[in-house]
Subunit: 462 residues, 2 copies
């Protein structure tokens, strides 16, 4: 393993963090970075660097990192681009292990001076084996270490989880983070790669494969220079942890935008997609599906086959789910004779009793619903269960007894649900069921079905 990769561990797990450009002035990014570290309750040493202040946010500050006597593992840099080479020379001298370079104005700018600065800076850190996240990034967050090394303190409000997001866009990282807060999803790390001075997708994937906090790797990609590196890294690590990628820049305009934004052409979309498939990377088409799929991957086992049971409190939502499952290549085949007999005992002849099952006529018989779910779970023809229930005060009782059945099952086969009630009626119960590995819940039957379909697609390419 090269020096950069060894230092990466300390970059994400530092004992001490210097903020070069720390400030008490709210209009400076150095203020917000300090707020992220302190509000996020980083347990290690925080060292503000500012030549004009003795303290920042009440913490002893130093004119430069040279003036601080202890060790510095991570340096977060928010000073203007032209100062960065000298800062990094000091970092090398000081023995800094890694850096988050928030500053913009490198190869993404029109002026060739940006590209020169990029190369000059890269040479300094590469010589010393210092991994740099950035430049032109919002930062990174390691939730399990309470390390919020970004200019957005609110990232610390995220739940700790096992999904890592590696993103080329700060906007998309914020979008996904804020959406996840509403979906009860947790992250291990969120990493804004920015313009990738020496850490690109390939090295991040290599690192994350041995990161025990991360189970699922999600990528947001615009344009990348080193496609081969990404593909090789994914191939080499194939099947170890799921990698899910959302790549924009499909159209004419997006491709041009990528050039300006990240200094890399987006490239031909179809080529990416097929290369990703072959490397076992699951391609996804939008931010919502990226999160939905990561949520399922992080909580469910993979289905062992394509046959799904659709169990629903109402027929309509089951039809929406079946349409989507079928169009994505999954099967809604017959139950075994034993399961079907059981269901026929439990439901009157007027119901949809074959797969999909309309459990509506058993609304007021929580035991019957439990028995149907159990029969489907144990049916050898069935590889996963979609469970759909829309309910309000008239039918809330049906769900109470099902809780235990779902918790006991512990996702032995994937159980993906859309349990929906008016806001605040059952929100806490759903959270509890998710935290107890009973269900993975989605706001619509189609999103639940798409999450299941993506689990199966991953099985086919991994």
């Amino acid at each position: 393993m090269d020096h950069v990769m060894i230092n990466m561990r300390l970059l994400f797990n530092p004992g001490s963090v210097a903020v070069i450009g720390a400030s008490d002035n709210m209009s400076k990014l150095g203020f917000h970075v300090m707020k992220s570290l302190t509000n996020g309750k980083f347990p290690g040493k925080i060292i503000p660097i500012n030549p004009g202040s003795n303290t920042v946010m009440g913490i002893d500050a130093y004119p430069s990192i040279k003036d601080y006597k202890g060790e510095i593992d991570l340096a977060i840099v928010v000073l203007p681009a032209k100062l960065v080479p000298d800062i990094f020379k000091e970092c090398v001298d000081k023995g800094v292990k890694g850096s988050v370079l928030i500053t913009a104005g490198f190869k993404e700018i029109d002026d060739p001076s940006g590209a020169h600065l990029h190369i000059e800076t890269a040479n300094i850190v590469n010589g010393a084996g210092i991994p740099v996240i950035g430049p032109n990034t919002f930062g990174m967050i390691n939730l399990n270490k309470n390390l919020n090394a970004s200019f957005t303190p609110e990232f610390s409000n995220l739940r700790k989880g096992n999904i890592c997001l590696v993103s080329q866009s700060g906007g998309i990282s914020h979008l996904l983070g804020f959406m996840a807060m509403g979906l009860n999803m947790g992250f291990s790390k969120i990493i804004g790669l920015g313009n990738r001075l020496n850490i690109d997708f390939d090295r991040m994937i290599d690192y994350l494969m041995s990161d025990s906090d991360t189970k699922v790797i999600t990528l947001y990609i615009e344009g990348i220079d080193n496609v081969r590196g990404l593909i090789d890294s994914a191939r080499k690590n194939r099947g170890r942890k799921p990698i899910i990628a959302y790549k924009t820049g499909k159209g004419k305009v997006g491709n041009q935008a990528s050039m300006s934004h990240t200094g890399s052409m987006a490239g031909r979309h179809e080529l990416y997609r097929s290369a990703f498939d072959q490397a076992g990377i699951l391609s996804i088409d939008n931010t919502e599906t990226l999160l939905d799929t990561a949520k399922a991957m992080s909580a469910c086992p993979l289905p062992e086959g394509p046959c799904i049971a659709v169990l629903s409190g109402q027929a309509g939502p089951s039809m929406a789910a079946c349409d989507l499952l079928e169009s994505e290549g999954l099967k809604i085949d017959s139950f075994t004779g034993k399961t079907q007999e059981k269901i026929n005992e439990l439901l009157p002849p007027l119901a949809l009793r074959t797969n999909p099952v309309d459990m509506g006529p058993a609304w007021y018989d929580s035991d019957a619903i439990q028995e149907i779910i159990k029969a489907a779970m144990n049916d050898e023809n069935i590889n996963g269960i979609i469970f759909l229930m829309m309910f309000a005060s008239a039918n809330v009782d049906a769900l109470k007894g099902i809780r235990e059945t779902l918790i006991k099952w512990q996702q032995k086969k994937p159980v993906i649900s859309c349990i929906l009630s008016p806001p605040a009626i059952w929100d806490e119960e759903i959270k509890e069921l998710e935290e107890n590995r009973a269900i993975v819940n989605y706001p619509t039957p189609e999103r639940a079905a798409m999450a299941m379909a993506n689990l199966w697609k991953y099985v086919l390419i991994k």
Copy 2:
């Protein structure tokens, strides 16, 4: 206009409502219907009918409608199917104007007795010109009249609005209603057609075209017998009010399920889609897009051409939006020279300054962002604006000044946004902007872009 259509007005705007099967017993639907009417604050007369009680929920009850001396406009029926023909004979005698028949067990059941009962019941009401919503329905809600004629009291929590939902599935109606509560969307009416004794989609569309509370008509369709009637009604009313349809039963399984659920085959999906296009009905593929599109239709003018300006606080989300817009056939063309000059003055050369515009470098200059938005609004090349901003505490100020610019504009061209912040930071402000016709907001850039694309698709088929 036939008698049924004349009575439809009183069905939706009754002065008095009888609940035939009203009950104080929580395990009965007649309890929940009574709760819907009373909690929903229906201002007219409520008449519980129950031969075993003198009062229901403290309201004087009668053994049968014959025993009530006043007029009854609407009769909600929750008694078992076999009693329905006699009940309806009494309704005819009493001069009831319309009915909501919640009871199931008609043509959707396997036993031929259900189909016979269906015909027998239809003959009774058709002879008297009484329109019936149902059977096998959760009911209907006319929010503008505080009339919740359903077994789900929570529908009364919905905002009043100008979108009407006509649905063949109670499950989907509940799903869309509960989702809308979270999206700050309002409805005029939600109508569960059920198994359509004598009121099918065609008659509902005819009625809603002259319903001044309804601006946008959304349909959820499984299988219908009278496709020709629906198409003819949409054609006849073409261009008057947008009609948006979500049709399930695409796949093999869904089609079979439709037969069992609604007694009608779903039929070949492609034929529906092309017939809908030709009748000016916009086809939609899932529940989320149905709501998103209705929300845009209800609040925005239609774009006069396909060229969209994408103005974004960050490049990544603008790329996601551009990809979707381009793949749906919209254009992200150049601004006029005048607009581009203006933007060049306001943004540094390092930014994405042509369409899409990355306003990131002007984050801390709210005036500059306002000027960019105004220039795009007034650009004659531009037919609509997508506005994207992900923000947290570090950049909340940028948005404050934009508020007024957006409110003043009043959607003269459509302005569709994804303004997203951590939960609770800007929720109230977004609600206020939506209520002031300043924006229509979505949770992701792709959903915002898809809503815009659907406005344009409707222009092409209407």
